[in-house]
Subunit: 309 residues, 2 copies
Amino acid sequence: MSAISMLELRHLRTLSALHETGSVSRAAKRVHLTQSALSHQIKALQDHYGVPIVRRQGQSVELTDAGKRLVALAGKVLEEIQATERSIAKMSQQASGSLRIALECHTCFDWLMPLMDAFRQHWPDVELDLVSGFHSDPVKLLEEGGADVVIGSEHKRRRGVVHHPLFSFEILAVLSPDHPLRAKRILQAADFSDLTLITYPVPEDRIDLILNVLKPAGIHPQRRTTELTVAILQLVASRRGIAALPSWGIQNYVEHDYVIARRIGPHGLWSDLYASTLTETASRPYLRDFLTTARNTCFATLDGIVPLD
Amino acid sequence: MSAISMLELRHLRTLSALHETGSVSRAAKRVHLTQSALSHQIKALQDHYGVPIVRRQGQSVELTDAGKRLVALAGKVLEEIQATERSIAKMSQQASGSLRIALECHTCFDWLMPLMDAFRQHWPDVELDLVSGFHSDPVKLLEEGGADVVIGSEHKRRRGVVHHPLFSFEILAVLSPDHPLRAKRILQAADFSDLTLITYPVPEDRIDLILNVLKPAGIHPQRRTTELTVAILQLVASRRGIAALPSWGIQNYVEHDYVIARRIGPHGLWSDLYASTLTETASRPYLRDFLTTARNTCFATLDGIVPLD
DNA sequence: TAAACGTATGAATAGTATTCATCAATATTA
DNA sequence: TAATATTGATGAATACTATTCATACGTTTA
């Protein structure tokens, strides 16, 4: 007779994702379900409470007041749960150990910093470190004990190594606002001939644009390298060349019209990001916590990224 | 690969009940599931977190530190959820109306007071009232519009009326500590002949002991009535007679040895409590909230009561 | 030493969340 | 403006998994 409360955490997770993505389909991807599943969930909630939770606003959906209230609840509750699970993990066993992070992706510094801050607070007894410098085979670092996590796009199956999917992101071409190519909405491989490509100082086979677009088309533009993302953008803005960077890495600069961004190829050039660890480190509670908070903060902070796996 | 969190609210509800009851079987009754179901739930949690949640302590179970942490979480989270659902109910429509409570059961004042306090805070716009005096047919009060809820043991199906089950409780015989019957652990109908029965001033057919035990056995003891529970207990303690009261109503007095309590019949004399409303009032959000908080606080406060339905 | 009570557990079942297949509506592109 | 691609909603089919059932095992009580 009296179904006291049909609410489950799954609903809160859904609503939270719905809030962050602003669309049922995207939220569905985020929680690894189909759009239909979420639609049914939302309908069930609405039927139960007798109030609309979302309002169809043209193409996408908007949360109602009741929806917002539930989202607020979700935020609080999910955070409390994560905190509890952390403290249980600490009781369980090793709340200590080391987490030395090796970065294959230069731009990742952007979102890694706040994440590391949070992590340091949650796990004061874990030695947190950044392994600096460029490494030709970063995953080898794991096996050699030089790092505990590698963040990069490599995900070849390798014995004793686990690749934890983080997210997919789009790589956009970055141009100066008055660049001749500005008229084209989508750039093709051919557009890059006779241009200077500005990149981080890494080998060619580590640059997706070259590896997956230019090389197959037989195009080998000139290259100029620099360490820092801002430096790359400076050079682009000064019309010294063109660059290819993650969409979330340049967003601020595009918004201020320092540079403009263009899609590469009809479907865009996409790249995947993984956090790789040894199998044994993968089970450490603090590592698992690092991964989930990494995903959480990335999805909350970074625009235009898509879940993986 | 990474099942971020398998925790669901159902687990928290279970653990909360487990904490309050101290036993898997009783907790199972509380959440309207089987003992087996809860046992499986707990096992699943333990497997997931890799830590014991409960420890078998002889006959019953005890929560571990991790278990206690989860119970603390449950308390917080479930309360936040109830608060949210209240505020959604308020948005939805009528957060106002009236809740006039008629009590068929005198002893119920004990637990009703704190409940009404809480309710008044949650629903400031609902007119809360107690319908005083005794009524021969309290459910008729609903139909006549004299009350919105009747709390009593009546639950005959009647058109337009819903009986919301609250809980079952045991009625114990109350004796003075030096009463001749003190030696018997269990009293039979025959034991009541030649005794004076002290009761509230209500008709015989509203007294479970008379209706279900004494009358069937052809026993008609003398009766003396008084309004207040304390007065009944005073009379019992002064050896003026014997009484039959809910176990939770006399607990304090038994603990202080003012009186002693004895089971009536081999399985005890049990009575059920319902909150009855008109069908239309049953759907009001504040009524639903009243019912769930009533059950919650009763189960949390009153000892020895058992879920119903 | 049963009898009664409480918990644990594998297998069967039942319940229901999710997917599939589709439609309608809106936005995008040619 | 038609054509195409997205997005959300919905009934029916499916797949999953939580719950129950049946039972065993341990503890307490008479």
